[in-house]
């Protein structure tokens, strides 16, 4: 077990390097450092001289992977790739190409992203569990059929519709919450209500169906029949025993999502003007700010690896038959 853990952690290193290589290739096939400089320096009266100076200041004048001009060992190390990768691995994100401190921005923008993601996750978990439990309890009734229909319908509606329609109705026509914006602290609640509810609705349909399947499967097991035979009520069996046993696979599914919460929701953030990490990333892509893009990809893959590890561990917890080596 611990050997497995150690091996997985060691895996993370080459994976992160691989991710960095891909980011580099993708980014620099598209953009040359000259393009980036022009983007930052503005449009008018930009001379090649200014561009060269800009590149030199930020180290973008170095070759990407192989420095033929340097000597010996430096041929491989005095490159843009090695220099920026090494810094990333020490979590020194440095300053963006636009000149701002990336670490500071990340700290500031993590809050709003989490302020949406965490409530969405918890609320939809509670709502979907509750709904699925009731439906499992009333299985086979007309309400069950109706709920199945509603769930499939909810799944089939584009998430964009929830966002566009929700904002139009709730904020514009009914004036219940501000249309967009954000504030820090308690004042953020009124800005978060709508995006959180919408985020919950988007995830509700598939999750209710999935949880219901898990509940029904659990109810077919031996111990449930035993409990029934002993005279326990249907409700008690369902809400106590089945729920407890079904929580393991459900929580396993939730664990995977945890790290990705940090990255935020792109469209929601843009539409509700919430200054989270999702809109930060998209802005950076549009502004071709390589320093930020690289950092976000790095963090994203780091979190993904952590999530994978957690999932594998939860597999073991959930099903002892799976062997990890």
């Amino acid at each position: 077990m611990s050997a497995y853990l150690i091996r997985r952690l060691l895996y993370a290193l080459p994976i992160l390097v691989g991710v960095n290589v891909i980011t580099f290739l993708l980014f620099f096939v598209v953009n040359t450092p000259d393009d980036m400089a022009r983007m930052q320096l503005g449009e008018r009266h930009v001379t090649q001289e200014a561009i060269d100076k800009w590149k030199a200041e930020r180290g973008y004048d170095r070759p990407l992977f192989w420095n033929g001009a340097a000597s010996g060992f430096e041929q491989a190390t005095d490159t843009l790739f090695i220099r920026s990768t090494v810094r990333l691995f020490t979590f020194d994100f440095g300053r963006s190409d636009g000149g701002r401190d990336i670490g500071g921005d990340l700290r500031q923008r993590m809050g709003p992203s989490l302020a949406i993601a965490v409530p969405v996750l918890l609320l939809q978990l509670v709502a979907a569990l509750g709904w699925a439990l009731v439906i499992a309890w009333l299985r086979g009734s007309r309400l069950d059929v109706a709920s199945a229909l509603v769930c499939v319908a909810m799944m089939s509606v584009s998430g964009l519709f929830y966002i566009i329609g929700g904002q139009y109705l709730v904020a514009k026509l009914w004036r219940l919450v501000p249309i967009s914006g954000y504030d820090y602290g308690l004042a953020s609640i009124k800005f978060l209500v709508l995006p959180v509810v919408i985020g919950m609705l988007i995830a509700l349909g598939p999750n209710v169906r999935w949880y219901r399947t898990i509940f029904l499967e659990e109810m077919g097991r031996e111990y449930v029949r035993m409990a029934r035979a002993k005279g326990l009520s249907d409700a008690r069996v369902l809400f106590v025993h089945v729920l407890r046993n079904a929580l393991i696979p459900i929580l396993t599914g939730v664990v995977v999502l945890l790290p990705s919460l940090f990255l935020g929701a792109l469209i929601t953030e843009a539409f509700f003007a919430i200054p989270g990490l999702g809109s930060y990333t998209i802005d950076a892509l549009q502004a071709q700010d390589f320093a930020i893009v690289r950092t976000m990809v790095f963090l994203g893959s780091l979190l993904y690896i952590v999530g994978l590890l957690l999932t594998d561990l939860s597999y073991v917890v959930a099903d002892p038959r799976v062997r990890l080596q």
Binding site: D101, S141, S180
Partner: protein, 711 residues
């Protein structure tokens, strides 16, 4: 527990007092705060490198150059701001002899601007000026006491000010040459200001990667301090447009203390730079700069004071724009720029009263505006009911379709290619384009110079005879038959290329993406198809587009130009041969070159506005109309809509420092917001009821089930 609960309730009460959808703290309700928006964070607030519109919105309120544009008067005129008078040049020949103003260009060896500034102007309070009891700067250099947690200048406990000196202007001019600051106008100014390029070379040799480079120690011929309130700028040739540059933040004063302060180690890593926190003398100071949410301008307590103008255009008095004449500026206490990434929420919030002013989004247009019987825009009854007001101004800019004159098909001075260009100019129906894509918010261009700039002509004298006829007192686009005849002349009868027998294929290079561009490009294709020409649109990103322009591989392209200053030179130079994009890296993207035009351009440049200049401009414009290097396109109009409580809303397309003139009636705003934003509770009740019904249904189902014997 009880305490927590009650404080929660108190907090919630604070949040939900007033309209539910109030995006601001309830405490700000009656405050004299202007709310407006920004879409992306400004990149540079350092006046040496700030050039774009969204940056100028901030820098122009904070920094004060020597001169400014008069708020009300049109055509745009310069008036002194910190200078005692609008600067003018004295010309000298190579031997140092003074020359008359109208001396020929070739004889001018030096143009000297001697400028005096007003005494008693002070900078905003800033820690850079703070000193200890023994007179040392508190936050500079060795022994400086730093505040390690400071993330903004306001986090420093001490702040002070200093009087504005002529040296601050000279210091900023030297900063244009600073190798680390990348001023976008360094190379342009290097051509004019004597010794600027040499200074740049010297600085390049002395500069280190970080740390303070004390520019005061460098003597420099181009800008010299004469005394505390007087300095001189020396140009190497006659450049009458230079005075317009003096109105831009590039030539605003920057105190050396600020540079020194921000150069302290660790400052830049905490975003403490001049790029983020400007230090100026203007009516406002930047108190909060959080590009992730909002930027806040607050009244500068040290502002020297300025009075609202007492004169304006003829109609201004009737429009109530002179009601505040002579009153002290600024009127508004704070300006909050809120981050708003999408147009739709911005427009929605404006209608609800949360923003005071809004540019009209093209699609909100029909809701807000209609055209009156005389063809002038007016507000719809719904908007009038909200007592909104509208300001319309033609922008000093042009959006055009250009032909690359180096291209073998559409380019060159051959009569055939010219006929092709003229035919296409007729076929592309700019009027329809303005109607569909800008909802009528634009004026068809008849040449490069927009209305409001000297050289533009109205009426029959101003029309483009190549494309239009003058019928019944207005210009009418020539019939398509004329364009078809021109196509025959060009050698493409019916739009077919005789060499291949297939329709002539032309290539349009565009750099735009987004929802609105697909219809626009389809529309272009339709226009070209009128002549049987097949238009292939090659979309690309802006970088690649610029590459194509630089290498001259584009054929037809769409671009625009927004004036730096209100002078015809700033438009005509876009067609000046030696500014050719491909050969000279200039701004003449069509690579138009005509010896006669270039000769006239050089003479026109140094003439003062007057009949002689107008005659020259007319000749130049007639020539470019015939050569048709551009399909002249549109002069866009800016419509801005503002609420009843917002006063002095006149649009000024040249001045950016106009926020100081605006006035708000915050009490009235609070009342109207309250009235407009009553929440609609019915849907909540309906949703609650529906939920209750479902619960009841579930309950009944369960009851029924338990009645039956369990199977």
């Amino acid at each position: 527990m009880l305490v927590v609960a009650s404080s929660m309730i108190a907090a919630c009460d604070g949040i939900w007092r007033g309209p539910w959808n109030n995006p601001y703290p309830a405490a700000e309700a009656g405050a004299n705060i202007l709310y407006t928006t920004f879409q992306e964070r400004p990149k540079h607030l350092d006046p040496v490198s700030s050039y774009s519109e969204n940056e100028a919105m901030i820098t122009s309120q904070v920094y004060e150059p020597l001169v400014q544009y008069h708020f009300l008067e049109r055509p745009y005129t310069l008036v002194p701001l910190t200078a005692t008078a609008v600067p003018s040049a004295i010309y000298y020949d190579a031997h140092g002899q003074t020359l008359p103003v109208d001396a020929p260009d070739a004889s001018v060896a030096r143009a000297v601007y001697r400028i005096s500034i007003r005494p008693g102007i002070r900078f905003q309070p800033h820690p850079a000026f703070a000193r200890t009891a023994d007179g040392r700067y508190r936050y500079h250099g060795e022994g400086a006491t730093h505040v390690p947690v400071a993330r903004a200048p306001t986090d420093f406990p001490a702040a002070d000010t200093r009087e504005l000196k002529a040296a601050d202007y000279v210091y900023q001019i030297k900063r244009l040459a600073h190798p680390r600051l990348h001023s976008p106008i360094a190379s342009l100014m290097g051509r004019y200001i004597i010794g600027l390029d040499a200074l740049a070379a010297r600085l390049q040799a002395d500069v280190s990667a970080t740390g303070f480079l004390d520019l005061r120690g460098y003597d420099f011929e181009g800008a010299r301090v004469l005394d505390d309130y007087t300095f001189e700028i020396t140009l190497g040739e006659r450049y009458p447009q230079f005075v317009y540059w003096l109105a831009m933040p590039f030539f605003a004063p920057v105190p050396w203390e600020a540079d020194r302060f921000y150069a302290e180690p660790g400052m830049a890593a905490r975003n403490l730079t001049l790029d983020w926190y400007p230090v100026g003398t203007g009516p406002y100071l930047l108190r909060e700069n959080n590009p992730n949410r909002r930027m806040v301008l607050a009244r500068n307590p040290n502002f020297h004071g300025e009075a609202y103008p007492t004169e304006g255009e003829a109609t201004d008095a009737a429009d109530g724009l002179l009601a505040d004449a002579g009153k002290a500026l600024p009127f508004i206490d704070e300006i909050h720029f809120m981050l708003e990434k999408e147009d739709i929420p911005e427009w929605g919030k404006f209608l609800q009263g949360w923003y005071d002013i809004s540019p009209i989004a093209a699609d909100g247009f029909d809701q807000a505006i209609r055209f009156g019987p005389d063809g002038r825009p007016e507000l719809t009854p719904e908007m009038q009911a909200k007592r909104m007001k509208l300001a319309v101004a033609t922008q000093p800019s042009i959006v055009y379709l250009g032909f690359n004159l180096l291209d073998p098909v559409v380019g060159g001075d051959r009569p055939r290619a010219r006929a092709l260009r003229q035919a296409l100019s007729i076929a592309v129906d700019i009027e329809e384009m303005i109607s569909i894509f800008s909802n009528g918010r634009g004026i068809p261009a008849h040449g490069p110079i927009p209305p409001g700039i000297f050289g533009h002509r109205e009426g029959t004298a101003g029309i483009n005879r190549v494309v239009y006829d003058w019928v019944d007192g207005r210009p009418v686009r020539k019939p398509l038959a004329r364009a078809e005849a021109l196509m025959v002349e060009a050698g493409y009868p019916g739009g077919r290329d005789p060499a291949t027998g297939r329709p002539l294929a032309l290539y349009f290079d565009a750099f735009a993406f987004g929802p609105d561009y697909k219809p626009l490009f389809n529309w272009y294709r339709k226009q070209f198809a009128k002549l049987g020409v097949q238009l292939v649109v090659r979309m690309t990103d802006y970088n690649r587009f610029q590459d194509k322009m630089r290498t001259g591989t584009a054929q037809i392209y769409g671009w625009g130009w927004n004036a730096d200053y209100p002078d015809p030179e700033n438009f005509l130079f876009l067609l000046y041969g030696p500014h050719g994009k491909v050969k000279h890296q200039g701004e003449n993207a069509s690579n138009y070159a005509s010896a006669a035009f270039d000769r006239d351009y050089l003479r026109m440049r140094s003439l003062p506005n007057g009949p002689a200049r107008q005659a020259l401009i007319d000749r130049m414009i007639t020539r470019v109309r015939r050569d048709a290097p551009w399909i002249w396109g549109t002069h866009p109009q800016a419509y801005s809509l503002f609420h009843a409580w917002y006063a002095n809303g006149k649009a000024n397309m040249m001045a950016r420092n106009t926020l100081k003139y605006r006035r708000l009636d915050a009490t009235r705003r609070a009342e109207l917001r309250q009235a407009w934003n009553r929440p609609v509770l019915t849907p909540l009740i309906v949703a609650g009821a529906a939920l209750a019904v479902i619960v009841a249904l579930a309950w009944r189902t369960q009851r029924r089930r338990s009645m039956r014997t369990p199977t």
